[in-house]
Symmetry: C4
Subunit: 215 residues, 4 copies
């Protein structure tokens, strides 16, 4: 099996999910009973912030998926199904984004908003776990062009667990304060964009690109 | 004709259909008249279970489609239209999934829920028949790299009919008990995922990969 | 410029449009005030018939687009924009399909239903004109591998005009009787599927495949 | 890294966004309380005009993206994230299009309509800025096959700034008169289609194709 359809299907799902995000951006239509549009747009700031954050999360996972899959020599059915688990959570992002935006609009920190924020963070956690499962798959057998040496497996895994740990922390904080958790996931997105952007030295591969084929 | 656009178009339809599944995940917005979000999420369990099942059905058919199409040497117009019949049912899955989830939410086993479950299973049956029609197309002429020997055609067909028989059984059961049919289609999905995952021996091709090109 | 992104983008639009068709399939949810689901599904037959017809129209235009684009040697900006005109009408199909289904459900032949049917047929006419414009583009210069000889240009165009003429006829009939026009566009879809399917002789290229590269 | 997945993902987003545009085309269903369908379609002319304009804006940016990306030799992570900024605004187009159409339908020039038109133009401005950022990226290092000579960088940038200036002008006009701004963005779309279509001489590369690989 080759990688091309795995990439094509995954790219399709990423592209549809990222575009559906904007379907959650809704304000009430014009009418006597509705507030001014400018006030509505202001009041719906959680929709726009959640759109931004989720857009870049899908973008980041797409970039990392891109790099990780390119390092793979042989595609087997296990990988196809592990990849489906990742996509299962990607597809949930427009739903969780719309939910958290709607509840934040209604109240910044009541119990329902906190539940919505827990769900929002949990979907990102699930996505990270799905990505981690693909990474774990690459550690075994002769599956990538430049395998991570066995003695560095645990170091690589710990970096992954550390990444997932941020989402667990966000979930715990969301139980107490929705806005604080929102800020954390936003900062994590900013961190990933900055960290993923190559520096001048240009030779600091992220763990997920450790097995990347440089040719 | 080459396979690439057949694959690209089909992958696009699979990707859009699998992502639209999540549009059915809706809970009422916040408000005084609505139950707590956590209770709503719990009460909408049929939406989440139906999402999971349908997601993996589309994923499984995508994996099998991937393998079957790769075995094909020459694409003709008949194949393009037979492939459209498969996609016709794939595209219906978000509709039938949303319908069954909505009716299960309202009642676990009234007559309408059973009708919705019959429809849900019937769409999977139609998808299996469409896939079977592509497989039948591969049995004739010089169309695949490693054709199934003529004497094994009926054995291969019977395996296919057996697969479709599960959905007929689920439809019959859905006429009596919607939840029992729901459990059956869920177990079938689990079975396909487990069966499709290679074992250590790694040399037990499923019937749809019988003509697969190993290179 | 190469053909690959023209094909990828067009396939994406075709795939999304064909999948969005199913979003028009809606029945009322469960409740005391609603009719039985089985009765609703029966009463919504126009939705299902319109879905079927539109699905195969998009499928047929995709197949023909596939064949025509493959015959092209050089992609220029004019072609990209002419192709956009075709896609403009393809994207309208889910809208016109939903509209005609909704109005047919309400009344089989009142003036509004006839207007909706005129629109439904007009979108197919626009799609045919867009496809014809791409075909016209292929007739000029050194743009295809096997150009249609100049003396056969008008014969080829007349076949195209004949095809578009069916939709004009359907529009005229829709002004009087919506169902009759519905039957005509349905029969045209069946005709194209049968005509496009290769016969045993296998050497009767449709006009749009006249310049097709047989290699 | 190669360009193929960058193109595939971007094409997916363009294709989904352009197709979702038509979801904004809605008229009220049939019923005693609703005006005739023909009157509704006429009254909803802003929806259809906005659909047309936005469709061609996405089409034009797709064509230009196509040309610009093809000129690139090496894809790095910075480019992937800059490309995401472009897509961020492309994905917003269906939202801003639906908003402006809805408010124009209600009133051609009240304050809310003008706010909606400002937003509509601002999304196009954002898209132009995103595209300009990709272009800026191509000016540095050894990133394209035929780099723009350093002494022509500012001339190229000024042409870009000029393009973005049209949207700033449209935003300023939208603050006073929504329809006038609507006409301007419509004319800009017409201009780009005409300008992008090759003339007989065929050798007037647009600034974004300045680094295009002619092979």
């Amino acid at each position: 099996m080759d990688r091309s359809r795995l990439e094509a299907f995954s790219d399709g799902v990423f592209a549809v999910a990222i575009t559906l995000l904007a379907l959650n951006l809704t304000v009430s239509g014009p009418g006597f009973h509705h507030p001014r549009l400018i006030d509505q747009l202001g009041a719906h700031w959680p929709s726009f912030v959640a759109y931004l954050i989720s857009f870049f999360y899908i973008g980041i996972i797409w970039v990392n998926h891109h790099v990780l899959i390119r390092s793979i020599k042989v595609v087997d059915r296990t990988l196809l199904f592990v990849n489906l688990v990742l996509l299962l959570f990607v597809v949930l992002i427009p739903f969780s984004t719309g939910l958290v935006a709607e509840y934040l609009y209604h109240s910044l920190n009541d119990v329902d908003t906190r539940v919505a924020m827990v769900l929002y963070c949990a979907v990102f956690l699930g996505m990270a776990l799905g990505f981690g499962a693909i990474f774990e798959w690459t550690l075994h057998g002769e599956r990538v062009y430049q395998p991570v040496p066995r003695e560095r497996h645990w170091a690589a895994r710990i970096r992954f667990v550390g990444g997932g740990g941020v989402y667990i922390l966000a979930i715990l904080i969301a139980l107490v304060n929705a806005i604080a958790a929102f800020i954390i996931v936003g900062l994590v997105a900013v961190y990933y964009i900055v960290e993923n952007t190559p520096t001048t030295s240009g030779d600091t591969p992220a763990p997920e690109s450790a097995g990347d084929n440089p040719t």
